[in-house]
């Protein structure tokens, strides 16, 4: 009987498992094998020119200044943008969850609109906002007698400009998840705290934050993974410039792979990125466990 039910389970799992195997494991293994070769445009024409080069791609990668630049930019982006994005979405969620606010639907909708708007359209609008001579951003700054900043043309300011835009674009999504989390916190906890005479900050620290911990973990992992894969924003806004200051790791991978057809090299970048995200996720799990 038991034997039969295990077999039945495998039978029902088979379609899903084979799909995962065919469309996930095989490509991943193939990509790994390719990352050990110098597969490139010559190889597409004549397979006999493929050379198995072991870990050379990976070694070359560690010697490639552009790879380090891309890695540094990506970390800069993730470290600056993830907490900022989470803080903004948490703040917005708490505001929208407050009983004092009216017309919640409209606010929720308008904060969510950037998430579903096409990035290309958003990027074009933001390019105008950031325009050094006619942009509204520099116009605001001029009220405070701050000299115009060449947002997207200055290597120092280009990344902050991208961060600002992508936080604005993405916070609505996490906000919705946080609102759902907030609504799951039992009201009586707050009532009890009121009886004890706790103030707003104390309630936030002792009730809201701990109760939101699982949501925060989920949100921060999803955000981190998503942000490590930064691609479209710089691809449209700056093409990785100026001076490669916004070149992200995924963009570098795309360039090497699909623009210059260095598939082997590009695959090795993909695996390094995979490894980084893997470690990042592990660390977050560990942190979350130790705080509990």
């Amino acid at each position: 009987m038991k034997n039969f039910s295990t077999r039945a389970a495998y039978f029902f799992l088979a379609p899903a498992l084979s799909a995962i195997f065919i469309f996930f494991f095989i490509p991943v293994i193939a990509a790994f094998i390719i990352s050990l070769t110098d597969f490139d445009i010559y190889a597409l024409g004549d397979y006999s020119t493929v050379r198995f080069i072991g870990l050379s791609n990976y070694l070359e990668l560690f010697d490639d200044p552009l790879f380090w630049t891309a890695l540094k930019n990506t970390f800069y982006y993730v470290i600056a943008a993830s907490p900022l994005s989470i803080a903004v979405s948490l703040g917005a969620a708490i505001l929208l969850n407050s009983k004092l606010i009216k017309l919640k639907g409209i606010f929720r909708l308008s904060y969510f609109i950037p998430v579903v708007t096409t990035l290309v359209a958003v990027a074009i609008v933001w390019r105008f906002i950031y325009h050094p001579r006619f942009g509204i951003m520099n116009y605001f700054l001029s009220w405070f007698d701050i000299n115009p900043v060449d947002w997207l043309g200055d290597p120092v300011w280009a990344m902050p400009a991208i961060i600002l835009m992508s936080v604005w674009k993405n916070f609505g999504y996490n906000m919705i998840i946080f609102i759902a989390g907030l609504q799951n916190i039992p009201e009586d906890l707050y009532e009890a705290a009121d009886m004890e005479g706790a103030n707003g900050l104390q309630k936030f620290r002792s009730i809201t934050l701990p109760m939101l911990a699982p949501t925060t973990l989920f949100v921060s992992i999803i955000t981190m993974i998503g942000f490590f894969q930064l691609f479209a924003e710089p691809y449209i806004m700056t093409q990785g410039g100026p001076l490669n200051s916004t070149l992200s790791i995924v963009q570098y991978m795309y360039q090497e792979g699909f623009r210059w057809w260095n598939m082997g090299y590009s695959a090795s970048i993909a695996f390094v990125l995979f490894f980084i995200i893997f470690i990042g996720t592990l660390i977050q799990f560990k942190l979350q466990k130790s705080t509990r």
Partner: protein, 428 residues
Amino acid sequence: MNKKMNYISKILMVVILMTVLSCNKEEGNVTTIKFWAMGSEAEVVTKLIPEFEKENPGIKVLVQQMPWTAAQEKLITAVASDNTPDLCQLGNTWIPQFSSLKALTSLNEWINKSASIKKENYFEGIWETNVIDDKVYGIPWYTDTRLMFYRKDVFEKAGYNHPPKTWEELLDLSRKIKALYKGEDKYAIYLPTNEWAPFVIFGLQAGSDLLKDKGTKGNFSGKEFKEAFSFLVNFHKEKLAPIGISQVTNVYQAFSDEYFSMYISGPWNIPEFKKWMKGNLADKWSTTPLPGYKENYPGVSLAAGSSLIIFNNSEHKKETWRLIEFLSRSDVQIEFYKLLNDLPAIKEAWNDPVLKDDPYMKAFYEQFFHVVATPKVPEWEQIAFSKIQQYAELAARGVLSVDEALQRLDADVDRILEKRRWIISKNK
């Protein structure tokens, strides 16, 4: 269960058989040519096809449009999966890549037999871009190149009644224009640091061959390229050209505002400049061939444009060649120009009044006699777009000195060309 399976498999068999049969079916004696073209070329060429089909009953042409931005990926994927069309439009700098994929048919035989397509009908530099090791892989369809767009009125204010003919004059004029604005945020020339073309053009003018040893090593720290590179970087250093690209979001507006007075660009910009230079500005601008190194006027520029190629796998090469001959006819080329402003590759077509009487076109005609191809190696695009551009920007911003930038450029280029060196040594 078993019976049902049987039933299903029978249906499947019939379906598969039907698809196979329908694939093999030829509609009467009509041959269909698949023609892939890019962007607006694809749109416009469909207007020329009916005439071809009328002249050639029995041949039908199926045009498919690809966007420029995705074309290269799509084509390489098509080659890798054996799904290539018969005829295709190919940017002429892509020909080395696709010939290294062994995907292109050599057209020498067809040209020898042809009554209409002859090498001497074409601008020499443009034709040359299609030739690799004496084999012709493409027939030029339309051409473009880069030359100088300039403000006549500003030149006159700066005391020049003719466009610069040498590098020296170009620099002198730029300084004079800059002096006109007395510290205002205005410039003489726009040399975007995210464009490799000006650096390569001036390098070629100075006589650099860009790559050495049969295109297997970089030659950028060579004397000629270094001279050109420092000449251009100096424009940024002296603030004769604006640094960065985002200040000039709209090139045409900046040009009409006198933000800069010279710009090196191609024919695709003529309609735009006409649109922006309106009213009393309409006669204040023009085009002119590029200045030359020392006495060689006009200086060379890039041989760009698109060619028509036949893929190796095509089963209708004869019919496809007929279509190429049709599209290369002088009257068809002029028609194509009228529809899209793509410049004819046939010299004869330039005698037509629409081109001859156009004041902006004269400079292009002159320039086309002085165009050269970039090195014909498949890695060239990567070298130009990623490496030359990168180091040009670093040098223009003063992060690296010219010597450092060029040495690193050569090192990077040598690394990119390693595979090519290996393949060439293997085939010896």
